[in-house]
Symmetry: C2
Subunit: 205 residues, 2 copies
Amino acid sequence: MPGCVKILDAAESLFASHGVDGVSIREIAEAAGISKATVFHHFDSKEALYQAVVRRSCKGIVALVAQMAAREDGNPLASLADYRRHDLQETLAHADVVRLVLRELTLGRDDQARQLSEEVFGEHFVRLRRLIEKAQHAGELKTDVDAGLAAVSVVSINLFLFLVWPVLKHLPDTPFVRIEDAAESMFTLLLDGMARSGSVSGSQA
Amino acid sequence: MPGCVKILDAAESLFASHGVDGVSIREIAEAAGISKATVFHHFDSKEALYQAVVRRSCKGIVALVAQMAAREDGNPLASLADYRRHDLQETLAHADVVRLVLRELTLGRDDQARQLSEEVFGEHFVRLRRLIEKAQHAGELKTDVDAGLAAVSVVSINLFLFLVWPVLKHLPDTPFVRIEDAAESMFTLLLDGMARSGSVSGSQA
DNA sequence: TTGCCAGCTGACCGATCGGTCGGTATGGTT
DNA sequence: AACCATACCGACCGATCGGTCAGCTGGCAA
């Protein structure tokens, strides 16, 4: 069974950087240090292998999110900021996997999207929304803003920034130097619109 | 030369929905109603055809943006809202092309990203930033917010929402019904944080 | 009429694709 | 000892890949 993991590791990396159809089973087998026939011994087909990779990647993301959530302390707003910061950190650390999942979305397959929303983003989303609702009940955030909408806004900062960063950093007269700083600024901007009173964090420079 | 356009049209649609390596020249030729050899008569290779498709798609997007920008009237904030609304509209109308370009980003190829930032997003970004700076000078938006950062935030609303919509609409207890409404709400949320004074638009329900 | 050339085609090429098959090495059970 | 399941492999399969090429066509210039 350990050989199985080697195959998944190799496939994940290759699928992420070249797409499903951009990688052959031969290449995966070679990267895993085994023969092509062995790949088919463990997985019924290339499609089955790909689905297994996506599934494992999703579970990995969920695990990371849960691990992050365990850090919640008493201050909802600080937890929210922490949450977003660690989310970006994990996104960057596992860029291959995230790209793999993001590309899955660009195919516009509705069944895949449904599966993703149930297995990954659902938990992510619910957890984030609860955090925001907690901040609302604590009087730190405006209550007339839909918590679900706010949650998506927070996620969009990290994920979108991660996706378009290669473009952003080449933009004319760009104000961006580090993606972490850009995300922090966008988050502050968002919070300013949601805060119950005045400025929440030190955005003014 | 008109046959050339038929090829590009067919290729664009197929590349967008299946990826470069997910489509064969035979399929493209069949969709265009010509023979496979004719495709190679007009384009040196599959890669050249793909690059031509991407290039044309980018030019199309730029043209749409320029067309939108011509509508600017005296009110910067209203123009900004208009701009974003039409941008989403065009994104949805040309979903195939947008997906094609977005998938290009998930490959993380730096040279492609640089080309995209110069040929498409550069103009988009600059135009949007000027609009925001105009609103700042007119006293409608806070001046301590970086205009470039705000521009990216506005773009992220439409593009990210478009990308993850298939997932979002399946989320548990989702507050989203129409992507246009979700985008409008997120835009309002963002503006609330950037507005010089009080609420800008009728977000309170 | 002739020549020419772009547009287009069917037939074909070697390479590679996903996938199969027969067989081997290993290690645990009986 | 015989047996069996699992992991693994080299060799092979038909199909399809991107790409080539000789030749057909119709229109246009000389």
